[in-house]
């Protein structure tokens, strides 16, 4: 039994134990702490265990011979980063659950276990299956414990279910297509390693890669709220209970990008570079950055603003994909991690504020900074990270993406190519305005809530000492990774983009 399998099963076993009557909070916290420490240890020892295929801690149990399906686990650098993100956010999310039914703990553990399974498996069937497992509690929690009137939260839950269900079906179709395409004509295999090997040895012609890549883009993209399939995301996060909002926006949503980087890109390296796919992708991601960005500007409530900003930032991650250069893709990896941590931090604070204040209308709030200095500082960490302030984790990722995207297609050392600017360059230029937009709304929100004169009757205090831990942890991680991005980037040794310029 590999360590990775144990890591995946710990949350499930904990959830089962709680279901059967174990004390909810204790069990959940112990499980998430054990997982957090264990994954950190694995990440530290990862370089030593890495095999030739860049996978560590590999293990495999055959489930079916033909088509070949196996419960196969293995971590490469990217999986390791995602696993770190998962356990980190899980720990924070579970820690901040207070006085809630045990279903909160169970759901959080299930989402966490599903996400870990999806990130650490190397078999397409189980990758897909674990993601589905994580989705179900998400839907149920929004529908049952969502923070809105019953009709409204049911409507939100159904919208989310239908979008994500349809997205998953498209995704499944794309995966099966990929399996059929890359099984080399013989028996079908869902083994990602074998599929990658086949794709490397006999790649499809670029034109043939395009439709499959596009299908996978739509499938995975719906899960990551890629424009125009994004409209489920903002209401879902605004409605979802705090731990679910943290876990889904911070971790589970990243599954779509993880899939694109780990499945679509290696199998179809030129898929994103085929002009029509790239142009479509650029248009969509600009929709995320600019359209959703402008929508975010108009939000009146903190939770709506955060939810929309989370959708908006997905655009940068897709920019990394569209660029397809090694540095841009690595930047996306870093930004995925950073965004996950920062949005989880912001949602955690947001949930705490709702509980204490009863409203999140920015017009009604103000001056909280004077009562709750600690909270203000932590929120500032999250907000500034989200804007992309240097020194915090997001900055490094965004810079890498912009540089990588701008450098794409240039063999010369000059940044501006002689033949003029391409669509990608223009996109980068437009996307940079997104940074301005996010700075505007984040700073405006920060000022409206924490500065100014306190409103009467709306009083908020700093959290009790026991509740500091998750917030400080997340903020510290943002700072650490922001100052030393190599902590994470060093985990990724092998090139991520097959055949690309390093």
């Amino acid at each position: 039994m590999s360590s990775l399998e144990i890591i995946i099963f710990i949350p499930f076993l904990a959830a089962l134990a709680i279901w059967l009557g174990a004390p909810a909070r204790l069990t959940a916290v112990v499980a998430s702490t054990v997982n957090l420490l264990w994954v950190i240890v694995l990440a530290v020892r990862f370089p030593a265990f890495k095999s030739a295929t860049d996978l560590a801690f590999v293990n495999k149990h055959v489930v079916l011979d033909n088509p070949a399906i196996a419960f196969a686990v293995g971590a490469d650098g990217v999986s390791m980063i995602m696993a770190l993100l998962t356990v980190l956010v899980t720990f924070a999310a579970i820690w901040q659950i207070v006085d809630k039914p045990s279903m909160y703990h169970i759901s959080s553990l299930l989402i966490s276990g599903g996400a870990l399974g999806a990130f650490l498996c190397t078999d397409l069937f189980f990758i897909y299956a674990f993601h589905e497992v994580a989705l179900i509690p998400t839907f149920l929690m929004i529908a049952i414990h969502g923070r809105a009137e019953k009709e409204q939260r049911l409507a939100v839950a159904w919208k989310t279910t239908i979008y994500l269900g349809a997205g998953s079906l498209v995704l499944l179709a794309g995966l099966v297509w990929a399996v059929i395409e890359f099984s080399g004509g013989g028996k079908l295999t869902f083994d990602l390693v074998a599929l990658r090997a086949q794709a490397a040895s006999s790649p499809l012609p670029a034109a043939a890669q395009a439709p499959l890549f596009f299908l996978l883009l739509v499938g995975f993209g719906t899960l990551v709220s890629l424009f125009p399939f994004h409209s489920w995301a903002a209401p879902a996060y605004a409605t979802a209970p705090t731990p679910v909002a943290m876990l889904h926006s911070g971790v589970l949503k990243k599954f779509g990008l993880y899939g694109l980087f780990r499945i679509a890109l290696p199998l179809l390296p030129s898929g994103a570079q085929v002009p029509w796919v790239q142009q479509a992708l650029l248009l969509m991601l600009l929709g995320n950055i600019l359209v959703v960005g402008l929508v975010t500007l108009h939000q009146k409530r903190l939770d709506d603003m955060l939810a929309n900003s989370s959708v908006m930032h997905m655009g940068y991650l897709f920019l990394g994909l569209a660029a397809g250069t090694e540095i841009a893709v690595k930047g996306s990896m870093l930004l995925m991690f950073a965004h996950g941590v920062s949005i989880a931090l912001l949602f955690a604070i947001c949930g705490r504020m709702r509980n204490q204040l009863g409203t999140l209308e920015m017009a009604k709030l103000g001056g909280i900074g004077s009562h709750a200095p600690f909270l203000t500082v932590v929120f500032a960490f999250g907000a500034f990270a989200s804007i992309g302030l240097p020194g915090l984790a997001n900055f490094a990722g965004e810079v890498m993406i912009f540089m990588g995207a701008f450098a794409n297609g240039n063999s010369s050392s000059t940044l501006i190519p002689a033949q003029g600017l391409t669509a990608l360059h223009w996109t980068v230029i437009l996307a940079l305005w997104g940074v301005v937009i996010s700075a505007v709304y984040m700073l405006r929100g920060y000022r409206a809530i924490f500065q100014g004169t306190p409103q009467t009757g709306l009083f908020m205090s700093d959290p009790a000492s026991g509740q500091w831990l998750p917030l400080v942890l997340l903020a510290a991680v943002l700072l650490a990774v922001g100052c030393f991005p190599s902590l994470l980037l060093d985990l990724i040794q092998a090139p991520l983009v097959p055949g690309a310029i390093p």
């Binding site: 674990f130 589905e132 349809a166 059929i180």
Partner: protein
């Protein structure tokens, strides 16, 4: 002890129980159920132990009876579902007996044994006469079983509907058999296989007969356009009988359909293309027609009825795509695999309905509200069953649907594939509605209790769903060996 004696053994047991019930009035339902269940379990054990080292069948029965893997599988299937139905009957006895005249369920225990005998014969049938005779044994027993709870007006209504449409399908079936016989001159599957391969057969007449034959069998498996009876009969009949119809009768129908389709679509067959086209269209339409009304159902039993139609559609598609080489399953194996996964989830779903009734709740969607608070175990098991029915990965239902769709891709039946995807997507919606209802909190906190036996069997069924969903290899290996006429000759 040879395998072909098992049916006789079971029939004798049925007779014994009938007599016991008639002449020893003091015998309790529990005792009757115990005897029957023990008998069925015993026969199942015998089947499993004897099946491996059987000799060739004696001539008097060998001409009508075969014992290939498929036959053994469907025999075992019939025994398992009969066992479960007997258990469900015992479980439901407290409220079912209110609807019978004398407050007893005597024949509800012996008749399933005769149904089982019929289904086991069907599994082994080698010619259409055997098919007809055993099919009618099953059907006539079901006429009685459906109408058995006579004090319930719905049950009688269901009984009459099932009777009329059942008799209609018998007529259609015999008419089809007549024309197939007229065109090919054969009543045995072997003879039909030869006739369609060799040629010299009037194709129009054969197709005419085949269409009636398939229509007659289509009724038994509830394929469109013969699905009208399903919702009413399923709703009206007592739940154990509904399970029996939904799983047992369907499986037996597909066992026969597999043989018929094998004979008709053997490589070089003159009607191969037509039969596959008809099957794929019928299957595709059945999936959609079953799924769409289910979207608006508020009665869970009726919802399960519609979903059962949809599953029949998937099974037909499995038959249509039966020559797929993508999965290590013999052509008839996909259907068998699907049915094997279909059994635990359907039985579990209906068993939950019985538990609801025992706790004084109904079968409407509203009755499921708050179940997660009152009986977390039951709610979890229902969630599992419904997730599996919807075809979520890591549950039994996923692989069945997956193999069907892979087969459709392989055979390039795109229209059918699109319909299958629509049906699967609709399934997510209506199954999820029930799950959502269960987890919705409700003020009243009347506890929902489950007996120890019920809990045990339900947990076993739930575990089966997970095991089949996570580790389907043993089942697949079992079914990969299904030998089918012309498998090796199947060309592409």
């Amino acid at each position: 002890m040879s395998v072909f004696n098992l049916e006789a053994l079971l029939a004798l047991l049925g007779l014994f129980v009938l007599l016991l019930e008639a002449f020893v009035p003091s015998v309790s339902s529990k005792a009757l159920a115990g005897i029957c269940m023990a008998g069925v379990a015993g026969v199942l054990v015998l089947l499993v132990t004897v099946a491996g080292g059987q000799d060739a069948l004696p001539a008097f029965i060998g001409a009508y009876h075969q014992l290939d893997t498929l036959a053994i599988f469907y025999k075992a299937f019939a025994l398992v579902i009969t066992f479960l139905v007997l258990w469900l009957t015992l479980e439901a006895a407290p409220y079912l007996s209110k609807f019978t005249l004398d407050g007893k369920l005597g024949e509800m225990f012996s008749l399933p044994l005769f149904v089982c005998v019929g289904m086991m014969w069907m599994a082994s049938a080698k010619d259409l006469v055997t098919v007809f005779v055993s099919l009618e044994l099953v059907t006539v027993s079901f006429y009685v079983l459906v109408a058995y709870t006579r004090k319930s007006a719905l049950a009688l209504e269901a009984g009459v509907k099932y009777l009329i449409l059942g008799a209609l399908s018998t007529g259609v079936l015999v008419f089809g058999v007549a024309w197939v016989y007229g065109a090919t001159g054969a009543l045995s599957f072997e003879g039909i296989t030869k006739a369609v391969q060799v040629g010299g057969v009037n194709k129009t007449a054969l197709l005419f007969g085949v269409s009636f034959l398939l229509a007659g069998l289509g009724f038994k498996v509830a394929a469109v356009p013969f699905q009208m009876w399903v919702p009413d009969v399923y709703q009206g009949a007592s739940t154990p009988t509904t399970v029996f119809l939904s799983v047992g009768s369907k499986a037996a129908g597909f066992a026969v359909l597999t043989r018929v389709i094998d004979a008709l679509t053997v490589s070089g067959s003159m009607v191969r293309q037509e039969v596959i086209t008809v099957l794929s269209i019928a299957g595709a339409v059945t999936v959609v027609v079953g799924s769409l009304p289910a979207l608006f159902q508020t009665n869970v039993k009726r919802l399960l009825a519609y979903s059962s139609i949809s599953h029949a559609g998937f099974l037909l598609l499995a038959l249509a795509a039966r020559d797929s080489v993508r999965v290590d399953l013999a052509p008839g194996g996909t259907v068998a695999f699907y049915l094997a996964t279909y059994l635990p989830m359907t039985v579990l779903g209906f068993a939950a309905l019985i538990q609801m009734r025992l706790n004084g709740r109904g079968e409407e969607l509203d009755d499921f509200k708050g179940l997660a608070q009152k009986s977390p175990t039951l709610a979890f098991l229902i969630t599992l069953a419904f997730a599996s029915l919807a075809g979520l990965p890591l549950t039994a239902g996923f692989f069945g649907k997956m193999w069907v769709m892979l087969g459709l891709v392989d055979q390039q039946l795109w229209f059918a594939l699109v319909c299958a995807i629509i049906g699967a997507a609709a399934g997510f919606y209506y199954y999820f509605r029930v799950i959502l209802a269960m987890f919705t909190p409700e003020e009243s906190t009347e506890p929902v209790r489950m007996g120890a036996l019920a809990r045990g069997v339900c947990v076993v069924l739930g575990c089966t769903i997970i095991v089949l969903g996570v580790y389907p290899k043993p089942l697949q290996m079992l079914l990969a060996k299904v030998p089918v006429a012309g498998k090796n000759a199947t060309g592409h």
